[in-house]
Symmetry: D2
Subunit: 345 residues, 4 copies
C-alpha cells in the first residue's frame, strides 16, 4: 500500500514517518508539505538523514488520490476543512489528525475554535477515531477524525466509569498536564527553552478547544449533558500527557466495582494497561509507545475518585492512535507497526 | 544577633544559609548537623566555597542556647519533637521548619504522619507561621511551626475566598505540583535523574500528610469541617510549586466580588502578587523569591472557580517564609534579607 | 532462538529487552537477575507492564547453557570475569556488555579498573565488538566484548582518519559529554535530580577507564603508542553522547581528503551517517537508534580538525551495538531488530 | 545615583534590573527599550510584577544624559556602535555589554562580526572590563566594553598560567559549553524546547566571534600570537558556562607551581574560587552569583593540563561583571549589590 502524509514536517507528521517507515503493510511513503515542497525532509530534520523517499511534494488535493492509496493528514486545524473534501470525494480513505472534523455540532466548532466549521456532510461522514471505543465504526469508516491528545487520555480513563454509571458526570474535573511537544514545531515564547525549562505553566483555563471534544463523548455515554471543568499545564518535558481526573463516586458504588470495571477493560484492549492496585502511572512509562496506562484511588473521606491516565501525546495522542486506526481500517493486526515497548529510560 | 541553623545540610537549611548570610540583623551564623559534625559545609556543598563559619557543629540541645540567640530548626520531621523541648524550656525563640508541631490535634498527627506526636504543651505553644494570616500571633510567639510547602501555596490562594464565604468549602479539590527539590537532598529512585527527567510522576494520592494541615486552617476560617481532595505531582524541575485549585462558587457570588477580594488582599501584603485579570502565574516567575503569585478564572458554565497559586517551595514554602517570620518576631522590616526580585530566567 | 539476558534490570539490560522483544530471530527471552530473582520485571519497571516472560530467574552459570541458546550479559564490570567462563566452557556464544574482557593487556585492566583481570585465556578469546571495524572477527566469534559507550563514539569518529594517517595521533584530545543514564540505574548524588538538573558536571578527568580502551584501538591503527587526552562530562539529559575531538591534521592533508574519507566511510556502513558539509550533529538526532552521526571542520588557522560524533549511549553505546553484533554472529540482516528511525523529538 | 539600563528587556538587562534594584548605591533606575517603549516591563515579564519605575522609556541618546547619571547598555551588538557615541560625547560614564567595542583591531571586528566597526576613537577609549585583570584601568575608565561570557570564563581560567608562562599558548584548545539563556530572549529553532531539551548541540565551530576576543587578551599576556582552537556547545540548562581547556604544560613546570599560581590568584580576588586539589567545579555551584570557580588536573602521561572554569553566563558572564565594574568605577565595595551566595539547588 502506498501511503501519503500531509504535513510531514510537523510533530504528528514526523511521528507518522517514524512508525510507517517500518510498518509491514506500507510499501511506499509519500511526504507532502506546502511550505517546504521540493526540499528533502532530511535537510530540515537530520534525524531522518538517509531516509528513502524523503523529498517533500507539494500538496495538491486533486493529485494526491492518483499518487497514494491512503492518506494521513497532519495539516494544522483549519486547513483540513478545505483540503480534504476533494480527496474524500474520490472515495479515498483518510485519517485526519486535526480538529476540524471532530465536533459534530457546528456551533461547538465555531464557539471553541473561532473558525468557520467544515461542510456538515463531511463532518457527518467522519468517525471519531477513539480506537478502543469506536472500533467497529472505525473498521468501516472512509474517514477518521483522529482524537485530540488530551481528550484521548481523558476519555480512555473516564469512559469505563461513565458507561457503567459509577460516577457523577457533573462533578468531573480534569487537571491535564502535557509535555511541550504538544505546542508544535514552531518556536514560541512559552516554548522558548529559557522560559519553559525549570518552569510549570498553565494556559487556556476553561477555554481549551478540547473541552467540547471531551464533553461530546462523555455526554454520549451518560444521561447528562452537564459541562465539565478542564485545565491544561505545560510541563518541562518533551513528550507525555498526564490527566488527573476527579469525580464523585455515586452512592453505593464500591471500590471493588471500580476495580473490576477497570480490570475487565484493560484485559480487553492491547493498549490499555492498569497500574497495580493503589499504584499510579508516570508519563515516562509510555514514552514512545501507544499505551494508555491508568491508575486510580477511591477516597472514602471525600467520596471522590482520583483517576489518572498517561499517554505519549505524539503516539496514543496523535500518530500512534492514527496507525492503530489505520490497522483497524485495513484489516492489519491492531499492533502492526507499533512498538512493543516504550523507550525507557 | 547570633543565629543557629539546625540541619544546615538539608535543602531548607541551605536556603536559610543563603538568606541569613546577607540578613542585616544577623551578626553571626552557627551551623549544626549531627551527621556531618566537624566537617566544613563547603566541602559538601562547594557552592558555599569560602563561607565564613562553615564548620558544622554537633547538635546538643543543652548547649545551643548558650551559643546562639535565635534558632532555626530544619531537622527532619520526627526529630524536632524531641530536639526542641529542652531548647524551648530555656525560653529561646525558635522557628521549626518540620511538620512536628503544625497539627493541633494529636490524632491527626498520628494518623497522617504515623509517628508519636510531641508533648501537647509545646504543640499548644507553637504558632502556625503562615505569615500573612497569623501575623500578630507570630510577632509575639516564642515558637513558630513553619508551614509546609503545599499548604502555604494552597492556603494563600484559598483563604481570602473562604474567609469571605465565596466558595463551597466541601467542593475544594487541590491538584498540586512540585519541583523535585521538595523531595530533599537524599538520593532516591523517584528523584534519580534518568527516572525523573522528561517524566511527570504522581504520588501519595489522598494520603499526603499536608492534607490535615490544609484542612486545619480551612476549617478555622469556614463553618464546615468537610474534608478536601488533594493530590501531588513531581514535575521535572528543581524548584517551584503550582497548586491548581477548584471549587464551586456560592450562588450569587459575582466575578467582581472575587476580583475585589483578591485585589484588596494583594495590596495588603508585600509578598502576595496578583496576575492581571484573566492571567495566570507560572512557577518560574517566583524562582528564588518569597513571592506567592495568584491567578484565577470563574467559569460560568460550571459555576466553578479555578484558582492558581505559585511559590518557590524552598523560599515561600520553607526558608523564605521562615525568614519573614523571623523578621516579624524581631521587629525587622518584613522584607529584610529577602530578595526583591526572583531569579529570571 | 532462545536468548538470555543477564542483568536485565540495569539500563543496558532494559534496552536489550526492548530490542529483542521485537527481534525477528528471537523466539523466547529469559531474563536473569541475582538481586531481583523471583520477582517480575514489570513490578520494578512498569513500562514493561504486560510483558510475556517477565519473571526474573536466578543467575546460575551452570544452568544457563541448558536454558538458552545465546547469552547477553549486562552484569556490572567485575562480575562478568567470574560469571562467564563456565558458560563459555560449554561453547555457548556470549556478548558481554561489561568492561572485563575489553583490554587485552592485564596490566591496563589492573591500572585503570583497579580490579583483578580475568583469565587471559578468555580475554584472548574475546573479540572487541566494534561492529564496523571488527566485522569479520565478530561474525566468527564465540564471545564479544561489547565496547564502552565513550570509546564507541570516539573510535567511530577518529579511526577513518587514523587509518589513513591524516591526523597526528599524539595530539588527539577528546572532550566527551554524556547523558546521565550513563551513570546507571542506581541512585547517586551526582545523578540526584536537584543536583543534576540545570547543571553541567565534569568527572574522572584523565582517569576514566575508557582511556585505555580508546588507546588500544587507536594504537592498533596507527604507528604510534602515544597517550591521548580524554575527559568526561555529565549533561542534564537522559540519553546521548557527544564526543568533540581535536587533532592536528598532518601537513599536506587537504579538506577534500578528509571529506572523501568520511563520505566513503559513511557509504559503507548502515549505521554511520555524515552531516552535510560544515554541519554538525546533535545528540537528539540519534535518540533511541543505533546510528552514529559524524560532523567535522578543518580550521586552517590552527591546522586542527574538530570532529564530532554522537550516539545514543544505551543503543550504539551498549544494547544497540550488541544487537548489531548478535546479527553479525548469527547471519541475520545487520539491521534486524533495530529501529529504522530515531525517536524525535 | 540615578542609573539607566538600555535594552532592559533582554536577558542581560533583566539581570541588571535584578541586581541594581537592591544595590545600595543606586537611588533610581530608568529602563529603556526601543521596541517596547511606553509599556511596563511587568506586563512583559511578570516576575517583576510590582516593580517601582517599571515603565519602559524610549531610547534617545540625546536625552539619556539628562535623565540618568550612569548608563548600562545591553543593546544588541551592532546597535551600541551608533547609540553610545553621542552619550559618551557628553562625558557620561557607560558600561556596554555588547561586543562592539571589545576588539581593538577594526579588521578583527569586521572579520568575525561581519559588521562595520565603530569609530576607533571610542574603541580606543573603551577599557576591556575583565574585572580581575584590568582593575586599575576600569577604576579610571569613562567607558567599559564588558567582556563576553565565554571569554570571561576562558580568560579567568587561563591568564594566571599564561602570565607566568607555564603553558604553551599555541596548544590551547577550549571546549566551551553554555546554558541556553546565552542565546537570548528571542525564540529560535535551536532554543525551541522540544528541540533543545534532552539534547546537546554544537555550533559555530571555529567561527565564534568570541575567538578574537579571547586571543586579544591571551596574546597580550604571552609572547606569541598563535591562534587558539575554540568550540561552543548548547547544554539543556538555563544558565551556566563551563569551559574545559587543554594545553601543554611547558617542560620543567611542576604541578606544585601550577597549584601555587592558582591558590595565590584565588586569594587575591573575591569572586575567584579554587576547587580543592583534584576537584572540579560544576556550573550549578555558581548559579545566580558572580563567582568564577576553577579546577584543574595535570596529566603527566600527556604533559597536558586540563583546566576547567565555570561561571553563570548572565552574571559573571554579563550583568554581574558589569555591576562589579560599576562598583570599581564608582568607589563602591567590590561586592556591593552582588549576592554572597549562589542559588542552590
Amino acid at each position: 500500500m502506498n501511503v501519503g502524509i500531509v504535513g510531514a514536517t510537523g510533530f504528528g507528521g514526523l511521528e507518522l514517518v517514524r512508525l510507517l517507515q517500518q510498518h509491514p503493510g506500507v510499501k511506499k511513503l509519500t511526504l507532502y508539505s506546502s511550505s517546504k515542497k521540493g526540499e528533502s525532509i532530511e535537510t530540515i530534520y537530520p534525524h531522518l538523514n538517509g531516509i528513502k523517499e524523503g523529498k517533500l511534494e507539494d500538496i495538491d488535493p486533486y493529485k494526491i488520490p492518483e499518487q497514494v492509496d491512503f492518506l494521513f493528514s497532519s495539516a494544522p486545524t483549519g486547513v483540513s476543512a478545505s483540503l480534504l473534501p476533494p480527496i474524500l470525494e474520490r472515495g479515498m480513505k483518510v485519517i485526519d489528525l486535526a480538529g476540524d472534523f471532530r465536533l459534530k455540532k457546528s456551533e461547538d466548532y465555531q464557539q471553541w475554535y473561532k473558525k468557520e466549521p467544515p461542510d456538515p456532510k463531511w463532518v457527518d461522514l467522519a468517525v471519531y477515531g477513539l480506537s478502543e471505543w469506536n472500533t467497529d465504526l472505525i473498521k468501516n469508516a472512509q474517514m477518521i477524525a483522529n482524537p485530540g491528545c488530551y481528550p484521548t487520555a481523558a476519555l480512555l480513563g473516564l469512559l469505563p466509569l461513565i458507561k457503567k454509571s459509577l460516577i457523577e458526570v457533573s462533578t468531573i474535573i480534569i487537571d491535564a498536564k502535557s509535555g511541550i511537544s504538544g505546542a508544535g514545531a514552531v518556536p514560541s515564547v512559552s516554548a522558548h527553552f529559557p522560559f519553559a525549562n525549570d518552569n510549570l505553566q498553565i494556559y487556556k483555563v476553561n477555554q481549551h478547544q478540547h473541552i467540547p471534544e471531551i464533553e461530546q463523548m462523555v455526554h454520549h455515554y451518560s444521561e447528562t449533558n452537564k459541562p465539565i471543568t478542564f485545565s491544561t499545564h505545560l510541563v518541562p518535558m518533551t513528550r507525555g500527557i498526564m490527566n488527573t481526573m476527579y469525580a464523585e463516586v455515586k452512592e453505593g458504588v464500591s471500590s471493588k466495582e471500580i476495580e473490576e470495571t477497570y480490570i475487565e477493560y484493560a484485559e480487553q484492549h492491547d493498549f490499555i494497561r492498569l497500574s497495580p492496585s493503589q499504584g499510579f502511572p508516570s508519563t515516562r512509562q509510555v514514552y514512545g509507545s501507544n499505551f494508555c496506562d491508568i491508575g486510580w484511588s477511591f477516597d472514602h473521606r471525600t467520596q471522590r475518585i482520583t483517576a489518572v491516565s498517561v499517554i505519549d501525546n505524539l503516539m496514543k495522542g496523535a500518530a500512534g492512535q492514527a496507525v492503530h486506526n489505520f490497522n483497524l481500517m485495513n484489516g492489519f493486526p491492531e499492533t502492526a507497526g507499533l512498538p512493543a515497548s516504550p523507550v525507557f529510560p
